[in-house]
């Protein structure tokens, strides 16, 4: 297999694509949004459980899609639990950059401690999409949907 394909379809991604974590609808979730990728017709729903202090107590998703979008959603649910809204927003920004830009931001514009480097390292398995610009939306769909849910929007599209 070619190198850039091997970078894209790493074992971690294939694993999360096959066996997504947190693929469920928590009864206590209080924010929901549906994200839609018009290019392929795939859609997924993100369920957030936000506590009154603005901390993400639980995050889960439902839906089907390509290996990249499902793996990304699955990994997202693993890193967001326990984060504040601001931390989630900062992590999304850094994740988006690692999917699109060869020169990653050093995080100097983030609030101190907003982004845990270990979380970013976990998400780095998706950085292979850089070589596949048509697939960046697959990797970011779950995150856009999560942001919409936090902001109280019910629908989001990657177009």
């Amino acid at each position: 297999m070619l190198d850039d394909l091997r970078d894209l379809y790493q074992e971690v991604i294939l694993d999360h694509g096959r066996n997504p974590r947190n693929l469920r609808r928590p009864a206590e979730a209080n924010r929901h949004a549906r994200g839609h990728n018009p290019m392929c017709g795939d859609s997924l729903v993100v369920h957030l459980t936000l506590d009154p202090g603005g901390i993400i107590r639980d995050v889960a998703f439902e839906g089907k899609g390509c290996a990249i979008s499902v793996a990304s959603a699955s990994l997202m649910t693993e890193v967001l639990k326990g984060k504040t809204r601001d931390q989630a927003t900062a992590l999304f920004r850094r994740f988006h950059e690692l999917c699109t830009s060869d020169e990653e931001d050093d995080g100097s514009s983030d609030e101190a401690g907003a982004v845990d480097p270990d979380d970013l390292d976990r998400l780095r398995v998706l950085s292979g999409v850089r070589a596949f610009p048509m697939r960046v939306k697959c990797a970011t769909l779950a995150w856009h949907t999560m942001a919409a849910a936090m902001n109280g929007e019910e629908e989001v599209s990657t177009e």
Binding site: L14, R18, G41
Partner: protein
């Protein structure tokens, strides 16, 4: 490998001499883009149903317009305007002969097939439908033959009905006929499904609709590149196709309409070119087809479309159909051997389209992986989301054939799909 001989063996075309004259390597030499390499691999172009590549005669015909025969048409008294007008109207004559229309006055040029459907949903609806009247489409339609009718539904209060298919993608004639009612004013359906390749028995559809005096509009976008179409033999009332899928340029579509029906229809857009006289109080309109061609038309594109029609007609649509039928049978056999692959759309009568899914690989992942092997296929819903929904899918991968494809292309596709199966297990 000699595809001319293999395809002729698979299904002998009428006249053995001409069948042997179908030389795919000579045809490929006419398409400059097929010499390109993609990701270091030879381009294997299996996406002609989305848009076909262009042969040199089409490219050169358009260059010649701009280099030696260009001005606006139907306007000036000067020499260049006359030359351009003659070339443009010669394109209309070629389209009329291509479809075997009774007259070139029945050929309306649009921007694309989508615009032709929007024209129909507006002008035909205003001429012939009252609130509550029905348009009957099929479950195989492209969004271009769904959404314009939904807009007309909102604007004019018409009703949209859908004739079903079976799980293999076969069009169901009796189910269709059962939906023809007292309020049905138009049947609008595809000739060949862009997503599944199903060939709809249009002549029989027309016979049953006409028995109730209901006119029929046919989407020929996926038929015209693959088979000879005779609108009078089919007895259709309207027929739509697009230039870029029949090896011509983008920017030009065609609406064929029976003369007496077009004559009853009001303009779609207003502006120059389509008027007889204009005053602030009252404007009168030209007769069809010009009534429906507001503004400067796609001049070089119509000439390019004429060149494309000459190109496929010289080769012979029957030979193209035979070549593609042989390739499709070969492709279905090779693809069926890929572990976990399922062909979607098993209609009895199909054109050169093979839609498929794989057990553990999403179509997008398939498309990305085989692209790295130089293989171009379409992945997604193919602008037919209701059809995908009917089949319980959100997307498929689709390999679509053109006259330039070879068994070698199919072999490359099959090899790449075996690699996908290995990755996703």
């Amino acid at each position: 490998m000699n595809d001319a001989i293999t395809s002729a063996r698979t299904r002998p075309a009428a006249g053995d001499n001409s069948a042997r004259a179908f030389d795919v390597e000579r045809i490929r030499a006419d398409f400059p883009i097929l010499r390109q390499r993609v990701h270091g691999q030879p381009l294997v172009y299996l996406d002609s149903a989305a848009s076909a590549q262009k042969p040199r005669p089409v490219i050169e015909a358009m260059d010649r317009v701009y280099e030696s025969a260009y001005a606006n048409v139907h306007r000036g008294v000067h020499y260049m305007s006359q030359v351009a007008t003659d070339a443009f109207e010669a394109g209309r004559e070629k389209v009329a002969r291509f479809l075997n229309a009774a007259s070139s006055d029945e050929i309306v040029f649009t921007r694309n097939a989508t615009e032709a459907f929007n024209l129909m949903a507006s002008s035909f609806t205003r001429a012939f439908l009252k609130p509550g009247d029905e348009v009957l489409i099929s479950a195989l339609e492209h969004h271009a033959n769904i959404v314009p009718w939904q807009l007309a539904r909102e604007q004019f209060g018409i009703v949209l009905k859908v004739a079903p298919i079976d799980d293999d993608g076969n069009f169901l004639l009796d189910e269709f006929e059962a939906r023809l009612g007292a309020r049905t004013r138009l049947v609008s359906l595809t000739h060949v499904s862009n997503a599944l390749g199903t060939i709809v028995p249009v002549a029989e559809v027309v016979r049953r609709a006409h028995a109730r005096d209901i006119p029929v509009l046919v989407d020929g976008c996926q038929a015209t590149p693959h088979m000879a179409v005779d609108v009078r033999a089919l007895d259709v009332d309207f027929y739509v196709f697009t230039g870029h899928k029949v090896y011509g340029p983008t920017g030009v579509g065609v609406l064929y309409g029976r003369r007496e029906l077009l004559a009853e229809m009001p303009p779609y857009q207003g502006g120059g070119e389509m008027i007889a006289s204009v005053s602030y109080e009252k404007t009168t309109f030209k007769a069809p087809p010009h009534r429906f061609e507001a503004g400067t038309p796609p001049i070089a594109e119509v000439v390019g479309l004429g060149a494309a029609i000459d190109y496929v007609s010289d080769i012979g649509l029957e030979h193209i159909a035979a070549h593609e039928a042989g390739l499709r049978a070969y492709a279905e056999e090779r693809l069926s051997a890929v572990p976990g692959l399922h062909i979607v759309g098993r209609a009895r009568d199909k054109a050169g389209i093979i839609s498929f899914v794989m057990d553990n690989a999403h179509p997008h992942d398939i498309g990305t992986i085989i692209d790295r092997a130089g293989v171009a296929v379409r992945t997604g819903h193919h602008c037919a989301e209701p059809l995908m929904h009917r089949l319980g899918l959100t997307a498929t991968a689709r390999a679509s054939l053109g006259l330039y494809n070879t068994r070698g292309d199919i072999d490359a596709l099959a090899r790449a799909l075996h690699a996908v199966a290995e990755i996703f297990g």
